[in-house]
């Protein structure tokens, strides 16, 4: 159970560029639920991921993971509980390191690191087995530098890396946005498979309403740093992008003219 209660975040307070990114965000995610999050630019999606991962500390409010208050835990301390895939394929991996070294880094997430060899033959066998499931032939390229791979290949590996260790929540930050449509579909299929197999508690931020409705169990819309729409179950089933738009307009009592919401 992930619990975000009344979180406020203001960037550059008291200056002309003051930004109130989150204004009382509250969201509870039961274990095993796959939540998709949509919202226009500046709605607070990135900041929400920031406070969940520990990159941003809230001004007020509380973040709890399984009753444990983690509000003030920095990212490395929270890493055993939180796995993350970034929007930029470059951000989630080290391009100068090899595939096996990147995977070994993720293998140690949530464990104490020592002076033992980071990449052992036993680990290579495990990595090969995991990569073979992708069907991309990457299992034969363990020693290749990450920088040699395409964006889609890197995102696929990052997803595998995220699931090498147990976690309380998987954060997906528009992780298909930088990919071409065909690769994006592949990565999204892979995501569904991994989330279902592991019954992972997942929060996926996306720019695409279509994607938000087609995947997961529940869809949440952010606006001005708050949850303005929260649909699940039968209400969500059979919902179309237009319905979502209408609901959003009704809730906000205003017309949306942000193209970013309609893209995809």
């Amino acid at each position: 159970m992930i619990s975000v209660s009344d979180v406020h975040v203001t960037f550059n307070p008291g200056t002309p560029v003051e930004t109130r990114a989150l204004r009382g965000l509250s969201l509870d995610i039961p274990a095993g639920e796959f939540v998709t999050v949509i919202g226009s630019n500046g709605a607070g999606k990135s900041t929400m991921l920031g406070v969940l991962s520990g990159e941003v500390f809230p001004d007020t409010g509380r973040i709890a993971i399984d009753e444990q208050d983690v509000t003030r835990w920095p990212t490395p301390k929270r890493a055993p509980l939180v796995a993350r895939v970034f929007q930029d394929p470059m951000a989630g991996t080290c391009e100068g390191l090899t595939i096996e070294e990147n995977m070994a880094l993720a293998w140690s997430r949530g464990h104490r690191r020592g002076l033992g060899r980071a990449v052992t033959n036993d680990l290579r066998d495990i990595f090969r087995e995991k990569l073979a499931l992708l069907g991309l032939g990457l299992e034969n390229r363990l020693g290749d530098r990450m920088g040699l791979l395409s964006g889609g290949q890197r995102q696929a590996i990052t997803l595998v890396m995220a699931t090498l260790n147990p976690m309380k929540i998987l954060l997906l930050d528009e992780h298909t946005a930088a990919l071409d449509p065909k690769t994006a579909a592949f990565v999204m299929d892979l995501t569904d498979r991994i989330v279902q197999d592991g019954k992972l508690t997942t929060l996926m931020v996306t720019h695409s309403m279509r994607q938000a409705l087609d995947h997961g169990h529940r869809t949440v819309m952010l606006h001005e740093g708050r949850v303005v729409l929260d649909v699940a179950g039968s209400e969500r089933k059979g919902m179309k992008v237009e319905d979502l738009l209408h609901m959003f307009e009704k809730v906000r009592g205003q017309q949306i003219d942000d193209d970013a919401l309609l893209l995809g």
Partner: protein, 296 residues
């Protein structure tokens, strides 16, 4: 070039290979441009020389010198990660401060080691000439340090350190305490440089407060030269390249100084080194531009 000059170049190359390994750790692994080394090399020399004159065992004195270097590295790293001072500036501040510290340690601008027992003394008992004993010792030390560094950088902590320099945000998301890695890496780097200083002082017969001037450029030149002549794709090659680059650099300098017709003298050394680094750093880009023009 005479045999003595040749062996001397290899000897100095091996010794400054330690500096190159230290610079490799800060510049390449941690992506932290660190000028502290200009102060931590004479720091190592000052600590070792002062303790030896006080009657300490030369090996323990050398170990204390490494400890001193590690502390200098920690100060720079701490100024950067805790006080958020720009890394380059943080290292310059430590370097300047070390100048005073080194004068304080020695109590004067230099500390001769004439007739004192040094790490070379046991080797001299075999009756070998000094330029052979120091060559053997520097070779063994450089080899041991290189192998230890290989082992460390392939360990789980070492991998975490490499990730810190390559992509700190990703490293943190994987549970790496990146600030701790910067502190540890900078301590290691400067400990190696101080070790070079301690051995240098014992080989040269004394420590001098000004012996650190331009050490960073020499170390950088060695790293870049090593990368230019061989593949550095895997760690064991990358560390080997540092030592080989350092030797090549010394040989090139010895060659230039020995060729009378060029008219270069010892005092031109730093100027040549700086030019060499500039050329080595810009050459890859220039070559790319040139090739493009040829194709077009």
């Amino acid at each position: 070039m005479s045999l003595i000059a040749f062996l001397g170049a290899i000897e100095t190359g091996l010794l400054f290979g330690l500096v190159a390994l230290g610079v490799f750790l800060s510049f390449r692994v941690l992506n932290f441009p660190d000028l502290t080394v200009d102060g931590s090399l004479p720091l190592g020399a000052a600590v070792a020389a002062t303790l030896i004159v006080l009657g300490w065992n030369p090996w323990i004195a050398t170990a204390m010198a490494m400890l001193g270097g590690a502390m200098a590295g920690l100060v720079t790293a701490w100024l950067n990660v805790r006080l958020k001072i720009l890394h380059l500036l943080a290292s310059i501040l430590t370097m300047i401060a070390l100048y005073s510290v080194n004068l304080r340690i020695m109590g004067r601008p230099n500390q001769p080691l004439l007739g004192e027992e040094t790490v070379f003394t046991p080797l001299e008992a075999f009756g070998l000439p000094f330029y052979v004993t120091s060559l053997i010792l520097f070779f063994v030390v450089a080899l041991v340090i290189k192998l230890m560094l290989d082992w460390f950088l392939s360990s789980q902590i070492g991998l975490a350190m490499r990730a810190t320099g390559a992509n700190a945000r990703m490293a943190r998301a994987q549970g790496v305490r990146t600030e701790a890695m910067v502190l540890l890496g900078m301590a290691l780097s400067n400990a190696l440089v101080a070790l070079a200083g301690a051995l240098f002082a014992q080989a040269q017969g004394g420590a001098d407060v000004s012996m650190g001037v331009g050490v960073i450029v020499v170390g950088l030149a060695a790293v870049i030269m090593g990368e230019a002549v061989m593949s550095t794709r895997v760690i064991i090659l990358a560390t080997l390249a540092c030592v080989i680059g350092s030797i090549l650099y010394r040989l090139a300098v010895a060659l230039a100084l020995n060729a009378d017709f060029i008219g270069l003298q010892a005092q031109d050394l730093k100027l040549i080194t700086a030019l060499l680094v500039v050329i080595a750093m810009t050459l890859p880009g220039m070559r790319g531009k040139f090739l493009k023009r040829v194709k077009a």
